[in-house]
């Protein structure tokens, strides 16, 4: 059953994997997505990939957004994708934001992260991409 975006809000999980303790960026994005009509499940800081995938399944989200500043993205993001696959939930698109060098970004996209936003990306661009990814998945 296709969800009409007008009747049924899209659901997105916003989480910060790993150990960095700064989530202002993630909160700003959560707020922007809420204002665009998303139901944002905000999982907060210091989430393990296992916790993130579990939350995504329980909350039946249409999209997962990961935020990271610590530099551990090459370990944590592929792990999230791998766990989603194991749970037969690879249909849930994952996007990411944070401090991610271009070369890493290219490799992560190849691995299956659908969009990566660096510092200075406009909220409008993030929202538009999130809508496109989530609607396609829903």
């Amino acid at each position: 059953m296709v969800r009409s975006p007008k009747e049924a809000p899209l659901r997105v999980l916003i989480a910060k994997p790993g150990l960095d303790g700064h989530d202002r960026g993630a909160k700003v994005v959560a707020r922007a997505l809420r204002d665009a009509g998303f139901e944002v499940i905000y999982a907060g800081l210091r989430q393990t990939p296992e916790e993130i995938v579990r939350a995504a399944l329980e909350e039946d989200v249409d999209l997962i957004g990961l935020s990271i500043l610590s530099g551990a993205h090459m370990a944590l993001f592929p792990r999230v994708l791998q766990l989603l696959k194991r749970e037969k939930a690879a249909d849930i698109p994952v996007f990411a934001g944070g401090i991610i060098p271009d070369e890493d970004a290219r490799r992560l996209k190849k691995a299956g992260i659908r969009a990566i936003f660096g510092p200075g990306t406009s909220l409008q661009e993030i929202v538009t991409t999130a809508q496109r990814l989530a609607r396609h998945a829903a």
Binding site: R3, P9, R34, D35, E39, V40, Y42, A43, G44, D60
Partner: protein, 319 residues
């Protein structure tokens, strides 16, 4: 002998412990997706046996942290727990930020817990009915206890008493005098009062006030609300909180109040669902039927008053 009707696949999956199927059907219930109707219908006869504990109270009193510890306690007792946390939807964008998971710390491989965030989705109505359906789905998924977290004091228009078998009202010291509690309408619904953040000064005073108020009787036959002090920063009182909840659940059984309460809740649910449907039908008719559109124009032009128009829609004795 009649054969038991075949269960829809999603219902069978939920009964078999498939968490993703459970999550999907919960979404369908939230989305008012007709696909959920058959599943809910098939599972209904198997439900109504587990306690549904409503945890409500004003913003910032520590409901989420309290639930986190309560779940830990229930797991110690080897009980499985389904949690539904309802947060308000923004009336402006229709979106929401559901943040109750932040306080929730569970081993990610613990299959005995299922946490679901739910947005109130504005004034569409039917929130209590949808919440009850979600609680029943969790029960069908095999959870022994359902915890329902809601923001009290009218910010989310969910009558927790229409869903929960035991209602816990969470307060903190110095939230205001007991008149505030009375005003917020929280007093009538409490089976258990929980004074959280009891490490703060004033906790004993708050307890005394509440015990005194509880002693006045809340109109709930035979039950005097318990008052429990808890703290989540230096965890204390959590076992006592669960004991107080259990005491109320036992009271429901020994007093015969359980079936009467369930009857009252189901009545409310039927009425809510019927009201939602009838309201939608009338709204559609006012848009569609030429005669009723003319009637609406008459009301807009101030020649007919709204009550008279409603009488034309639903003939019956004027009140």
């Amino acid at each position: 002998m009649t054969r038991a009707p075949r269960l829809p696949p999603a219902a069978r999956a939920i009964l078999g412990g498939d968490r993703r199927a459970l999550a999907r059907v919960i979404s369908q219930v939230e989305d008012r997706d007709p696909a959920a109707v058959a599943v809910s219908r098939a599972l209904y006869p198997r439900t109504g046996k587990v306690p549904v504990i409503g945890i409500t109270g004003p913003l910032g009193v520590g409901k989420s942290s309290l639930i986190n510890l309560l779940v830990g306690r229930l797991r110690e007792l080897d009980l499985t727990v389904g949690i539904v946390a309802v947060d308000p939807t923004s009336p402006y964008s229709g979106g929401s930020v559901l943040g109750d998971r932040i306080r929730f710390e569970r081993r990610s491989d613990d299959a005995g817990v299922f946490f679901r965030s739910m947005a109130s989705r504005g004034e569409v109505g039917g929130l209590a009915a949808a919440t009850r359906e979600v609680c029943r789905l969790l029960e069908a998924g095999g959870f022994n206890v359902i915890l329902l977290e809601t923001v009290g004091s009218g910010q989310v228009d969910l009558a927790v008493r229409d869903v929960a078998t035991t209602s816990v009202v969470v307060l903190v010291p110095h939230l205001g005098d007991e008149v505030q509690t009375l005003k917020a309408g929280l007093f009538e619904i409490a089976d258990v009062f929980c004074v959280n953040k009891s490490d703060l000064p004033g906790a004993d005073h708050a307890r005394r006030d509440l015990v005194e108020l509880a002693g006045l009787g809340s109109g709930r036959a035979g039950w005097t609300p318990r008052v429990v002090l808890t703290s989540t920063t230096q965890p204390s009182g959590i076992a006592e909180l669960w004991e107080a909840i259990e005491a109320h659940e036992r009271f429901l059984d020994s007093s015969g109040g359980r079936s009467a309460e369930e009857r009252r809740r189901l009545t409310a649910e039927i009425v809510e669902l019927a009201r939602e449907r009838v309201g939608r039908q009338f709204a559609e008719r006012l848009e569609r039927e030429p005669e009723l559109r003319r009637l609406l124009e008459e009301v807009v032009a101030r020649r007919v008053d709204p009550r008279t128009a409603a009488d034309r829609l639903v003939p019956g004795p004027a009140r």
